[in-house]
């Protein structure tokens, strides 16, 4: 970068559009990006070290803050790792409760995506609307778990509480409302909005080879045309008995990444409706001692969370705490590619592309 003519612009870590604390160092020539570097780690809170200091049951609140917009999915993932290592089987009702909560959380996470994507391309109304719909679901999560962003609902061997009475009656109208609004209001504000399409179509194209090269997973991968979803390919909770589609798009640009998430919300609503119909009665947890001892073992579990394939690799040595817990975050892999796909685009595209990848820095930096 010695003989440059332009400006080096430092975007972030405190910037309205960097979704927390992502830092991008752009080498500019006028309004065009010559070169860009990604700097992460501003939210590195040492969660993997903290896992070695916490009991298995006491690590859940920290797991919540991994991907804080889909905290329940993180809890479910960690719960599955512990249960697989300790050989605990879940009662069928707990499986269904977990699946319903995971899908609710997926919708909420995608709504945050829609909102922040809208705001980042300059549409403040989209942000407010998405958060309005999210708040309705948040009320449901609150009534189930007592918490909002960090619900602390999953425990070893099931869930802390059973679903409340009238859960079905409370959830169904909310789902109907969201489905209606996505098909009408959001379509008017985003899909049929010429300027929105102009800003996002053909911007930040990630093709199949880039996906495979960087190990990108989740909606960003499906937007590039690879049909893969761990819920279908490697079913974990009760997903194999559910009937749902895996939406894919071909172009791999920011617009298709947006469309994928819109479609996934609809599929999640479908899953929740089926699960509500088929949910078995019975106990919602098996009793597991609070202080769990897991023998020497290496356990690997991966699940499809809202950002992609998240995995945990837990090494235990017979103690009360994990000996080592490695967390694989999906966005950690997709951020690297920004250096490649942003070259030659305009400053305004940085914002649109970063938002379309839906990074959550809590999960990237861990």
């Amino acid at each position: 970068m010695e003989n440059r003519k332009g400006v080096i612009l430092n975007i972030g870590p405190v910037h309205p559009a960097t979704h927390g604390v992502l830092r991008l160092i752009a080498d500019l020539e006028g309004d065009t990006i010559e070169n860009i570097k990604v700097d992460i780690g501003f939210l590195h809170r040492g969660k993997e070290k903290l896992a070695e200091m916490r009991y298995f049951s006491n690590y859940y609140p920290i797991v919540d803050k991994l991907d804080y917009v889909s905290a329940l999915q993180m809890e479910i993932l960690f719960g599955s790792v512990v249960e697989k290592a300790a050989g605990i089987t879940l009662p069928p009702r707990a499986v269904y409760i977990r699946m319903i909560m995971a899908e609710i959380q997926r919708i909420m996470s995608h709504l945050v995506f829609i909102g922040s994507f809208g705001m980042d391309v300059g549409n403040y109304t989209g942000f407010i609307w998405a958060f309005r719909e999210r708040e309705e679901l948040m009320t449901i999560v609150e009534s189930v778990s007592g918490g909002r962003l960090a619900p602390m609902y999953i425990c070893n061997g099931g869930t802390f509480y059973d679903l409340p009475e009238n859960f079905n009656q409370a959830l169904t109208p909310v789902l109907d409302d969201i489905e209606k609004k996505i098909n009408k209001d959001y379509r008017a504000l985003f899909n049929d909005n010429n300027i929105f399409v102009m800003r996002t179509k053909g911007v930040g194209v990630i093709n199949k080879s880039t996906v495979i090269e960087n190990g990108i997973t989740g909606p960003n991968m499906r937007a590039a045309g690879i049909k893969r979803d761990l819920r279908r390919d490697e079913p974990y909770l009760a997903y194999e008995s559910m009937d749902f589609e895996i939406p894919t798009e071909e172009s791999g640009d920011s617009y298709s990444r947006f469309i994928i998430r819109i479609k996934e919300i609809i599929e999640s609503i479908k899953i929740i409706r089926q699960a509500l119909k088929n949910i078995p009665t019975g106990p919602y947890k098996t009793s597991v001692p609070w202080l769990l001892k897991i023998p020497e073992k290496q356990t690997f579990v991966r699940q499809e969370v809202s950002k992609g394939e998240m995995a945990m690799y837990m090494v235990t040595n017979g103690g009360l705490t994990p000996y080592r817990l490695k967390i694989r975050s999906p966005t950690f892999f997709s951020l690297k590619m920004l250096e490649k796909i942003l070259k030659g685009s305009k400053i305004a595209d940085i914002v649109a592309v970063v938002a379309s990848l839906d990074p959550v820095m809590g999960e990237v930096d861990r």
Binding site: V14, G20, L43, R45, G46, L50, I128, A150
Partner: protein
């Protein structure tokens, strides 16, 4: 005898404020009251959102609570145009200098709200190697919001508390004159 004369001298030296002084003092106080009224009702924040609390901060700006009602306008503009820094989220050691940097760029009068358990005592990460256990270690905080993360309504409450402090002129900053 000695004591009496001293008292007498003190009485002689004490002078009542003249009419001009009174008017000046009253006017100064009035101007200060008006300014503080404006400051209390127009708190534009720097959204220093680093982690989980940032999402609740965004909810605070969205429909349910609507920060705009009490004059908290999320302009998202530069620190130069902001009065309030909402430090929402864990501050890591890599971030600490950036926080101070942003804070120093804000023109005074400026106020600091520390959001969440992480910024009060370290919270969940009190024994982590890379976080700052409470931002009181590096800056002066006016209002703390407890919770992990706090509810949006608590943000509203914090703004109310801060406004009352401002309007009663109870905020003393040690760096009042520096910037």
């Amino acid at each position: 005898m000695n004591l009496e004369s001293e008292e007498k001298n003190a009485a002689d030296e004490f002078s009542y404020p003249g009419l001009g002084d009174v008017i000046f003092m009253k006017a100064e106080k009035f101007i200060e009251t008006v300014l503080n009224w404006g400051r209390g009702w127009s708190l534009w924040p720097v959204t220093f959102g680093t982690s989980c609390c940032a999402i609740e901060m965004m909810t605070f700006g969205a429909t349910k609570v609507d920060a705009d009602r009490m004059g908290v306008l999320f302009v998202g503009d530069s620190p130069r145009q902001s009065d309030l820094i909402l430090v929402s989220g864990t501050i890591t050691k890599k971030m600490a200098r950036r926080l101070i940097n942003v804070y120093e760029q804000m023109p005074s009068p400026k106020y600091v709200v520390a959001v969440g358990a992480c910024n009060i005592s370290g919270g969940l990460y009190h024994d982590s190697y890379n976080t700052i256990a409470g931002i009181d270690r590096i800056m002066q905080v006016d209002v703390h919001i407890p919770g992990c993360p706090p509810r949006p309504e608590q943000f509203q409450d914090a703004v109310k508390v801060l406004r009352e402090l401002i309007q009663k002129n109870k905020i003393e900053r040690y760096d009042k004159r520096t910037s």
